[in-house]
């Protein structure tokens, strides 16, 4: 059953259309026939040319990196208890920040997550770091509430906010075992524990 009914109708209609087109084509002037032939060809050529040109367009310039992605923060070491704090509750840690980007970078802020600890820096922030430059920053941490300073955690970090021409963003810098040990020792001393 399939195909036995509609097939002849389709063929007849197709032949009719072919005949009608042929008659209509012969009635057209020579110039019109040329236009009708070359018009679609020209349009197709234009389309292909556009596609080719678009395909070979140079890629857009690489965006300036998100600031934190090209800033390398490293722990340098413990610089001792601060002589400026006679109560002995302030410790100084040294970190370095290297700008690995081709654009200038600014260290906007450094904070510490412990709620019993306040942090300031020397030099004061914001601090500009030029491409390829490494700067050292003192983290000056003062114990303000010893009950809120953990003494045995393994992964303390500082949050550093960076800015470049594209964005401002924060990254947690996990400074590693040496920093953890130095921090715990310093805070033990600051809080007269041990």
């Amino acid at each position: 059953m399939a195909g036995s009914g509609p097939e002849p109708v389709e063929i007849l209609e197709s032949r009719g259309a072919e005949r009608r087109f042929s008659n209509w084509w012969r009635r057209q002037s020579a110039r019109r026939r040329l236009t009708l032939t070359l018009g679609p060809a020209a349009l197709l050529l234009l389309g292909l040319l556009t596609a080719e040109l678009t395909r070979h367009q140079p890629p857009p310039p690489a965006p300036t990196a998100w600031p934190a992605e090209h800033a390398a923060v490293s722990y340098v070491g413990f610089a001792g208890m601060s002589a400026d704090d006679p109560a002995g509750r302030t410790a100084v840690f040294l970190v370095s920040v290297r700008n690995q980007d081709a654009a200038a970078l600014t260290v906007v802020q450094v904070t510490v997550a412990y709620r019993g600890l306040t942090l300031r820096t020397a030099p004061r922030l914001p601090l500009a770091v030029q491409p390829g430059q490494t700067v050292r920053i003192q983290l000056i941490a003062t114990a303000t509430d010893c009950s809120r300073i953990p003494m045995a955690d393994e992964l303390p970090f500082v949050d550093v906010t960076f800015r470049n021409i594209r964005a401002i963003g924060q990254e947690s810098e996990i400074l590693g075992d040496r920093y953890t040990l130095d921090l715990h020792r310093a805070m033990t001393a600051a809080c007269h524990r041990g």
Binding site: A68, Y75, D153, E154, Q170, S172, I174
Partner: protein, 411 residues
Amino acid sequence: MRNRSLLVLTAIAATGTLTLTACGSRASNSGSGGSSSGSTTVTIGVDAPLTGSLSALGIGIQNSVDLAIKTANKNNEVPGVTFKIEALDDKAAPQQGSLNATQLVGDSSVIGVVGPLNSGVALTMQKTFNNANLVEVSPANTNPALTQGPNWQTGTKARPFASYFRTATTDAIQGPFAAQFAFSTLGKKKVFLVDNKDAYGVGLVGTFKDEFTKLGGTVAGQDHVTSGASDFSSTVNAIKSSGADFVYFGGEYPDAAPLTKQLKAGGANIPVIGGDGNYDPTYIKLAGTAANGDFATSVGAPVESLPSAQTFVTNYKAGGYSQAYGAYGGYSYDSAWAIIEAVKAVVSANNGKLPSNPRQAVEKAMSNVNFSGVTGTVSFDQYGDATNKQLTVYGVKNGVWTTIKTGTFSG
């Protein structure tokens, strides 16, 4: 009439020629996968869950490796060598992973393997690969014991298998980082711990718990769920009666999503925090609005934010892959590329030819691999762990994972 016919024929011929030329140039570009002029063909195997509830992650791994291979072949990255892919489905099952490892080892053309997704699966594959000196690079395994041995937590680190490497960072960082985030950033003090009893889930909860209690947090309760279960009511009741102010979950999204859904439906409007196993759009799809306010950590920085990843993202989209590259796409590409770099070094050291039995040489070369990849600089330490250790906290806001903060380990 003849002239007119000639004109028409010329126009048609010109159009046809142009069309064929255009088709030809498209084909030569898109056919980058196998167009290398290399004479030796080697296989990079993939082992990942390609079916089942974790397939969204597994297919992202497979596609990203496929893209790396196509790129290497297109660029003739290792002259004289053409790479091809062989992807096996481990169904997230350790037994299947073990069978796949045997199959991949048995295929002499396999020069390295990317995978698996699950740490529990990796545990059953490592020895088989190691006996054959077949390099395995996981983009997703986070259990520290895989590289540092079973006693890593007591400070006795010993690499169990020289052939095993990973580009993802470990739960030795992921768990504590999540604990610091929950305790210090969110101000949460009482946790209810839940794991799915597998190596990854138990390990992750362990590292989280250790750091959270050291910070001063308390564990209000702990429970274990069976992976694949649908009714978590007893766990939900235990959480509610514990008075915990959040839940930490060790496992994957197929279990975490119904848990958070049933938890919120039960009236406990507290966040669920999980690891990289939770970080997938499917988590939100399964949990619906109950996912809002939940958090997950995942390996690496968000790929979209990395300048080094822009080409990968563009090429992945252009590659026409129907599934997203997912949480481990960038790491999978880098895992495959690490193998390609090792092969390149071996070929270079052997007068431009691949040795007849190259597996051992490739394993040796992996230790010196160092290149700028999708996720940053890719190299491995003495344990086979990635030297680039980054993590990101994501939160669900209005039904979408959004980046909260990224952490970088520089110690």
